[in-house]
């Protein structure tokens, strides 16, 4: 019997059970159970045997759909039926595994990883802990699929759950995100911080003198974290300071002396062909069919291999690496190019690439304890519960190019587009990192309105705020001051309307009132910010009494002045 449903809105538990309930597939068996939940249905899937890439059910495709890429940098966007999917052929070899966990399917099909939406419904997986859940989309149908990569299940095992939800996409998305958070047991302990990063100013041309110069200029800017990015290490895989930097303990203590949490960048699942691991421990690397180390991607003009995060020695090395960084004094870890840990290939353990990736993340999380972990270039759903922050878009850049390729390449325009389209993950799954604010008025092609829109969007969506500028330059300090004033009121409750038509309307509620940001056309950009003026200004003072009790005083500001 066909598992096809002509209309997803007429789906019901009886039909699904009858048509998709139990099936024998090549190598094993699948059982799908359906339960009614608020706003829709929950699909629970159980498997036994050797399971490859299976279709759970399929349905008729709506014309306009919201599709999502598996990874931090990848696009989350609305596409129509005429959407010309293209990924430059010359980049497939270089960045194929960045674009997809299944490049063999990705480049010839339209795929939405983890979830997809339309104006009136949303379908999505609640987790990616074992398999890779995705939607395979052609002009007429959508196939709901789960790739278990040929894993063997000796007994009946429950794998990824899906939900089908009916309603307005704009409020289904936050509802869905919360279901995902609950399924993964997320408890957000860390706060969304304000900080500085070296990358979008210096890129690889960064050194200790520059770090000290910016530290000196950073006083009173309100940073909590000061993070050095790529450029400090000897090689990708040799995570020791190069000749441009002193010892790590020195870097960390210098940063800490300014009152900031010292932050450091690294790509822990990436191993360059020139690194000592490649030379001495090729058995720690993910292999291809022929037993040769598999190239995960190319960058820094090198082939980059993937660390086998299931190899006991490699795991020990990974644990020690992070324990040492923490010991050196770092309290914030931006871990990048994480997709390398989830490429398909031969590993020590017989598990799916998703399970291997999670083993690696778990080690890092355990090693750094309560320190802030920011995921970047990361498979999104498998990272839930292990990271405090997550980059949710492409790298930003000192330019705005709506005509550039939408393939996760640096571009402030596409970076900000994802800040809107993935807004609902923030504060629920993790703190969204919209990528850095570039507030300098020189050495940049960004204009005032682009700068202002980026800053206010990040602020009003209550995201992480990180500046990346040479602080000796002329900086738009007025803009920074305005956003820091609103930030000082604390947590915000946010929602966004207009995802499907791209005319985003952010409503951002906080103690200071309800601010709005309305985007008419992101490409130019044309937008309006409506700040809700306070009728009463209260100053809050917190007093800790000797008996351990806290007193929160609220006093009208006029009286103080």
């Amino acid at each position: 019997m066909s598992t096809f449903f002509a209309n997803i809105n007429e789906l019901n538990e009886f039909d699904v059970f009858k048509r998709a309930g139990y099936r024998i597939v090549e190598g094993g068996e699948i059982l799908v159970r359906v339960e009614r939940i608020h706003l829709g249905y929950l699909f629970r899937t159980f498997v036994k045997g050797v399971i490859q890439d299976v279709v759970l059910f399929e349905f008729q495709r709506p014309a306009e759909i919201f599709v999502n890429n598996w990874q931090s940098w990848g696009p989350a966007r609305v596409v129509g039926k005429d959407f010309p999917f293209s990924f430059p052929i010359e980049l497939r070899k270089k960045f194929g595994y960045s674009a997809s966990i299944m490049p063999e399917v990705y480049f010839d099909n339209l795929i939405s990883d983890y979830f997809m939406g339309s104006d009136k419904f949303l379908i999505g997986a609640l987790s990616s802990r074992i398999g890779h859940p995705y939607l395979l989309i052609d002009p007429e149908t959508v196939k709901v699929k789960l790739n278990l990569f040929g894993r063997h299940f000796a007994d009946w095992t429950e794998v990824e759950k899906f939900v089908v939800l009916k309603g307005e996409i704009d409020w289904l998305l936050p509802y869905y995100a919360d279901l995902v958070a609950k399924e993964n047991g997320v408890e957000l302990k860390a706060k969304n911080f304000v900080g500085w990063s070296s990358w979008y100013q210096y890129f690889l041309d960064f050194d200790y003198q520059k770090m000290m110069a910016d530290l000196d200029k950073s006083k009173c800017l309100g940073y909590q974290v000061f993070q050095i990015d790529d450029g400090w290490e000897r090689d990708i895989g040799d995570w020791e300071p190069n000749e441009k930097f002193p010892a790590l303990t020195r870097i960390a203590s210098d940063i800490r002396s300014y009152g900031y949490v010292p932050g450091i960048w690294l790509a822990p699942f990436s191993v360059s062909e020139t690194s000592s691991i490649s030379k001495n421990h090729s058995d720690w690397l993910v292999k291809d069919e022929n037993g040769n180390p598999k190239v995960a991607y190319q960058n820094w003009n090198k082939n980059i291999y993937a660390l086998d995060t299931t190899n006991p020695e490699a795991k020990e090395w990974l644990r020690t690496l992070f324990l040492n960084l923490k010991d050196a004094g770092f309290g914030y870890f931006k871990i990048d190019f994480l997709f390398a840990g989830a490429i398909q290939g031969k590993r020590h353990d017989n598990c799916t690439p998703v399970e291997a990736y999670i083993q690696g993340l778990k080690i890092i999380r355990e090693a750094v304890g309560d320190s802030f972990v920011l995921g970047c270039g990361a498979p999104l759903w498998p990272s839930i519960g292990f990271v405090d922050g997550m980059r949710i878009g492409a790298d930003t850049a000192p330019f705005w190019d709506p005509n550039g390729p939408d393939i996760g390449y640096p571009n402030a325009y596409y970076a900000l587009r994802n800040v809107f389209t993935r807004w609902f993950m923030n504060g629920v799954l993790w703190w969204n990192d919209p990528d850095c604010l570039l507030l300098r008025c020189e050495d940049t092609q960004l204009n005032d309105s682009q700068r202002q829109l980026y800053a206010f969007t990040s602020l009003l969506l209550d995201n992480i705020l990180v500046q990346s500028d040479n602080l000796s330059y002329k900086i738009d300090h007025d803009l920074w001051k305005r956003i820091m004033t609103i930030r000082s009121y604390g947590k915000r409750m946010v929602n966004l309307k207009g995802l499907m038509d791209g005319q985003y309307e952010i409503t951002s509620a906080g103690v200071d009132g309800v601010h709005k940001l309305l985007v008419k056309d992101l490409k130019i950009p044309t937008f309006r910010i409506e700040l809700d003026e306070e009728r009463v200004k209260l100053v809050k003072k917190i007093e800790k009494r000797s008996d351990g009790r806290t007193f929160n005083y609220y006093e009208e500001r006029e009286k103080l002045e």
Partner: protein
């Protein structure tokens, strides 16, 4: 002892907080909330502070239990005393609207701040006014509880409203607001953003609910103008109460906002305030007795539409 215990017969959590017994039931000494009293040595405007005898604490003792029949957990949370003003001889009905506006802002900040504690699931803000509802201090103040679980009646509200949403595709209270504005007979007071009414389903005589006309799930989502209009609404309702029988009217005032650390109810849960007064007449009290306590079924001796007419007729200076 401080812990919470699970009632397997009803699915409720009960907080065992043994030192609440030592609480002074009728303090004769001077007011602890006035300057120079037990809590404040300096003048202040508004303050929300940790209760001296909390039933929920951030650092609640660890509880170890693997008993299936008698489950218990840490009583982790927060209990705060929310002081509205330094003026001892005041009340919501006597305070300037401006002061109530500050109070609303403080409530919004408490709700947001407490929601950053991942173990907090529900922030309940309330006021007991008058000795008849157990208020031991006349100084204008309320309280708040930050619960580590969703209390039973909140759960009932969430379930009923989520079910309505599933069946009708929109929020139940949004529909109630539309109906009440059209109908008008239960409305006590109305402005651009709020209605105060005796609800169709009132459990208490003179019960009044305050509903925002726009769908919001918490006070945080109200803009500054709406917060101002809410202050006005609260002022008018409490003034009408006091003028009804020409006496300080005892009530329980409770804010019902969406759960925190859980945004699954934002679309279906509509923020509202309930005033549950215990007076059925000038000198008669309606008690929470066996039927109400044991079954949660209420017998309201007052026709809600009639109560609304009486309250509407009470003139207040605006």
């Amino acid at each position: 002892m401080l812990e919470r215990r699970y009632n397997i017969l009803t699915g409720e959590w009960v907080i065992v907080s043994a030192f609440t017994q030592q609480r002074p039931t009728n303090p004769t000494a001077e007011c602890p909330l006035c300057v120079g009293g037990a809590e404040f040595s300096e003048p202040y405007d508004l303050c929300s502070f940790d209760n001296r005898f909390p039933s929920l604490r951030i650092d609640a003792p660890e509880v170890i239990s693997d008993d299936e029949l008698y489950a218990k957990e840490r009583a982790q949370g927060k209990c705060e005393v929310v002081v509205y003003t330094i003026e001892h001889e005041s009340a919501m009905s006597l305070m300037p609207v401006h002061q109530i506006e500050k109070l609303i802002k403080m409530w919004a900040d408490r709700y947001l701040e407490l929601s950053t504690l991942p173990f907090v699931k529900y922030v309940f803000i309330f006021e007991n006014r008058g000795a008849q509802v157990g208020a031991t201090l006349p100084h204008p103040h309320g309280q708040l509880y930050a619960f580590p679980f969703i209390p039973k009646r909140i759960e009932a509200k969430l379930t009923a409203q989520a079910r309505y949403f599933d069946e009708h595709g929109n929020c139940a209270l949004c529909d109630v607001v539309k109906r009440e504005i059209r109908n008008g007979e239960r409305i006590v007071y109305e402005n651009e953003s709020f209605i105060a009414l005796v609800p169709f389903y009132a459990r208490w005589p003179y019960e009044v609910h305050v509903y925002p006309k726009r769908h919001v799930s918490s006070i945080v989502e109200l803009n500054n103008e709406e917060r101002h209009l809410l202050s006005k609404t609260l002022k008018v309702v409490t003034m009408k109460y006091d003028l009804l029988f020409q006496q300080a009217f005892p009530y329980m005032m409770m804010l019902f906002q969406a759960p925190v650390n859980d945004i699954r109810y934002w679309h279906a849960f509509h923020f509202h305030i309930e005033f549950n007064p215990v007076k059925r007449d000038k000198d008669k009290i309606k008690w929470m007795a066996s039927v109400e306590t044991g079954t949660w079924a209420f017998i309201n001796p007052k026709i809600p539409e009639e109560a609304a007419r009486e309250l509407r007729a009470v003139e207040v200076l605006k």
